[in-house]
């Protein structure tokens, strides 16, 4: 520990003098209140510090203490189900300490220090272990088995493991290498700004199934992939992020509310414990970690929050799990960078953002991926980042840099949102670069002819856009008959398939199997229409066909009834074809 004095205070940036040999990114305690900060620039005797709490009332001359530690998180059993701020302070414990409003300088250990966890060794005493080796397990929640791993940098023989109840700081065994004995506990620490190592990254090959039709069927994201969701306000970014957090089939979810609304976090805290995971029937809170740094909480902690989130995600990936991280919204994180950069009087790049914005965004998304872990298992992190472009215009720097770093683009559209078409993902502008990688999975697990169904669906939607341009010029009646059929089918794809209500009990989640059935039904009706058309029925007559009502009910049919429903529908569709022959 070494002490210096404050020389200058300007918002979240504090300059200290007289610290003894400070290093970049050392964590310091600022002022009488001991506010947490991080050194972000060294200039002669001056250390520039970004402070993670409000600096009102801090004066030049107060002390600054260097801890000589880097900003780190505690990793161990007890993370799941927690809600943290941007620097991993547990908000529930903080509330017990300082009441309903967050007071400055509040601190509480990130993990419960007193709770005893039942530890079951899986490695034999005396066996050789190295960084990342799993040596035992703790049932952290009913959904997730927490694997206890050898911390980074250690190797040797594991000794002294025995089954029993331990708190996170108690010694459970030791790693012995020659004379050197290192005690192992249930928890470890990791510096948030550096990634946890893996053996190698491999190509993703499985989709993250989210139960959202427009995503799973048209623009899927792979487990270990990256996706960007840019959209103006009110276009439903947050609802999409929350739907993914609720329903995607990842083992662990890390949800980072970065500079967003407090009431949204309250909503998640209210609703998640009540929601059950469709696979296991257990509350989804059991697999979720929330990081909440709302917009009015200190801006520097907002900058840290996505690193805290991704480090926790990496830790669970290292256990061999598939982890999904939602970050809402990365624009607020970028603005935090801009704000601090501005206070440092750095030369700005585009729109006042610092010149290193692109690099920082790319570094963050690079921490996603499907990986072979140090212990030879595989694990993955999927990162889904919301972007809030000013005025909804994605030509701005944060959106552009994010698009360069991510492989799936869900383009949210305010025109769709205004017509209450949700999710408002525009089917013409969005893309997924994983479609090819995942082709095999879909044909094996959903439908053999998946690729042709998908292409048919996309081409009908494309065609609709072209026809609509023509309608603007010549009017609807002048269209050729088969173009009218294309319009009917496209309308059906839009309204009966792509549109999905997050608030309807059944519609909120659709299995991939049901998605396949629904899409097939809509496409086979298109086939039947075209057949009937070629046998002399007019498009207008077909438009009035009562089968449409049945199709529009499809999304509300429960999973266990959908097969029967679709085969009945198929029979009716077949009849349309027959009647005309």
């Amino acid at each position: 520990m070494s002490e210096g004095k404050i020389y200058r205070v300007s918002g979240p940036v504090v300059i200290a003098l007289g610290l003894d040999n400070p290093s970049m990114y050392d964590v310091v305690k600022v002022g009488k209140l001991g506010l947490i900060g991080e050194i972000i620039k060294l200039d002669g005797d001056q250390a520039v510090i970004q402070v993670y709490e409000d600096t009102t009332g801090i004066r030049p001359g107060e002390s600054v203490v260097n801890t000589h530690l880097q900003l780190s998180v505690d990793l161990g059993p007890g993370l799941l189900g927690s809600i943290y701020d941007g620097i991993q302070r547990p908000l529930d414990k903080i509330k017990e300490q300082s009441g309903d409003f967050i007071e400055r300088g509040a601190s509480a250990p990130s993990l419960d220090q007193t709770k005893a966890w039942h530890f079951v060794p899986t490695a034999k005493n005396g066996s050789e272990v190295s960084s990342g080796s799993v040596i035992g397990e703790v049932a952290e929640t009913e959904l997730v088995l927490h694997k206890i791993m050898v911390p980074a940098g250690l190797e040797g023989k594991i000794m002294g493991l025995s089954e029993g109840d331990y708190t996170i700081n108690q010694k459970i065994g030791e790693v012995v290498k020659g004379e050197l004995k290192t005690a192992i506990t249930l928890s470890q620490r990791w510096n948030v700004r550096s990634h946890r190592p893996v053996r190698e990254k491999i190509a993703p090959h499985k989709p993250l199934i989210t139960g959202q039709r427009v995503i799973d069927s048209l623009f899927p994201v792979a487990k270990g992939g990256t996706a960007a969701v840019p959209g103006p306000f009110g276009s439903g970014k947050t609802v999409i992020q929350q739907q993914l957090a609720k329903w995607s089939d990842a083992d662990v979810i890390v949800y980072v509310g970065c500079g967003e609304r407090g009431n949204e976090m309250a909503d998640i805290l209210m609703s998640f414990p009540k929601l059950l995971d469709p696979k296991s029937g257990k509350p989804i809170m059991d697999r979720t970690i929330l990081i909440a740094n709302t917009s009015n909480m200190p801006v520097a902690a907002r900058e840290a929050s996505i690193y805290t989130g991704i480090t926790i995600a990496e830790y669970y990936r290292d256990m061999g799990y598939s982890v999904a991280l939602m970050s809402d919204s990365t624009s607020r994180w970028a603005e935090a960078l801009r704000e601090i950069s501005g206070r440092l009087e750095e030369m700005p790049g585009e729109e006042g953002y610092p010149a290193y914005l692109g690099r920082r965004i790319a570094e963050f998304y690079e921490r996603a991926g499907m990986s072979i872990l140090l212990n030879g298992e595989t694990g993955s992190i999927t990162v889904i980042g919301a972007v809030s472009p000013p005025g909804g215009d994605v030509s701005e720097p944060v959106s552009q840099n994010t698009l360069r770093a991510t492989r799936v683009f869900w383009a949210l559209d305010s025109a769709l949102a205004n017509a209450r078409h949700f999710p408002a993902i525009n089917w013409l502008n969005s893309y997924s670069l994983y479609t090819d990688d995942l082709k095999d999975w879909y044909s094996k697990n959903v439908a053999e002819d998946w690729e042709s169904l998908y292409k048919r669906c996309m081409s009908i939607l494309q065609k609709e856009a072209e026809i609509k341009d023509v309608v603007q010029l010549v009017g609807y009646d002048a269209l050729p008959e088969d173009d009218k059929i294309t319009l009917y089918t496209a309308q059906s794809i839009r309204e009966d398939f792509l549109q999905q209500s997050a608030f309807d009990e059944v519609d909120t989640y659709t299995t991939i199997k049901k998605q396949g059935l629904m899409l097939r039904t809509i496409i086979s009706l298109d086939d039947a229409y075209r057949f009937a058309l070629s046998h002399g029925t007019s498009a207008e007559e077909l438009r009035k066909s009562p089968i449409k009502q049945r199709i529009s009910r499809m999304k509300f049919v429960k999973e266990d009834e959908i097969e029967g429903f679709c085969s009945e529908t198929a029979a009716e569709i077949a009849a349309i074809g027959k009647k005309r022959t």
């Binding site: 600096t55 509330k95 309250a266 006042g352 005025g391 017509a419 209450r420 603007q472 609807y476």
Partner: protein, 465 residues
Amino acid sequence: MGDVYYKTIKKITSVLLFVEGIKDAAYGEMADIKLEGGNIVRGQVLDSRNGLSIIQSFGDTRSMNLKETSVRLTGSAATLNVSTNMLGRVFDGLGRPRDNGPPIRSDEQIEINGSAINPYSREEPSEFIQTGISTIDCMNTLVRGQKLPIFSGAGLPHNKLAAQIARQAKLRSNDEGFAVVFGGMGINSEEANFFKREFESTGALEKSIMFLNLSSEPSMERIILPRLVLTTAEYLAYNQGMHVLAILTDMTNYCEALREVSAAREEVPGRRGFPGYMYTDLSTIYERAGKIKGRKGSITQMPILTMPNDDITHPIPDLTGYITEGQIVLSRELYRKGIYPNVSVLPSLSRLMNQGIGKRSTREDHRNVADQLYAAYARGIEVGNLIEIVGEEALTESDKKYLKFSSEFEGKFVSQGYYEDRDIEKTLELGWDLFGALDTEEMKRLKPEQIKKYGKWKDAQRETD
């Protein structure tokens, strides 16, 4: 501190004073700036280093000089004396009485910057507020503890709408209304008088508190004023258990004052010259709405802003929309058609609507009626645009129905009187009346059982049986 007056001012700009020789001014500390004639202007420390403090003046810097003007630090951050005696009173932008009444004496002195509510302590807002205005109640429902701004344009009747909401807003379970804390930033005296008169004539004045900063008064007070409003609101809500409606107008003036300070400090500007930290700054105002678990009161916020050139992508409405839980957008086109309230429903939104509606609080068909109205009206508008290109002859039968629907929707549903207080049943019935003009099979957002129960088609019964 205390009685030390520094006469070491080095530089004065339109809003800032650079004072040398101060060793340890606290960041955010309040200061008194004493002019030659003895007048005192309030200021605040914006940047403090050993030997130089930058102080923002809340008053006019006219006739300040380097030689005779002096600065005293008060030793504390900006605070406000709060008390229930404030009800019925009018204050200025620094919290001093402007109604010739006595100053507020109180033991409770609160820092006006407030602290962030711990997200873990927040209670999700979910109680339906009936405003009696169909476009809001049915389609953009307001709930207690929400922040829902009005996005307006110059010359549109946003003040009238806000006053009508303040007058009519209530819960359905009881008649308990709201205590109104009103903040006027840079508004003109006519607007200020309008609100005063409104509150007087409805008897709401005893339950309201006004903070006023007129266009002619120092613009820097506008930066303090919303924080006074919210500090007062928090005191009434969380200490006194009252339900508070905070109206802030006009946020555009607030943002411009913020830009003025930023420019004076020669900061790197963001979009349109507004500072890069405006999002964070606005959030420290807007996020002070809500409810807290285990406490009785609530703060519902209704900020009003005028969009420069009616442009919703302008940084002020844009950043606001990203923080608030929806927005009510006023339309110039509807206003020209003579429709009051001229709420443009398509770009309007309430994010907390779902929590406040449905079987338990309003009616089970509420969500579906709202969605169907949106979808049908959007279609009608689309058809209307089409006519301009292809002419009315090229429309199909169904297109014509939608066209008629949208004009009836504007005329009967959107439009209502300034004193017309429609309850939610009345509003929903109006919606069902309008659906009657469309084909039942196109009503995809309505559930069959709802159509059966509420449908107003002449042959509805037959079709669904």
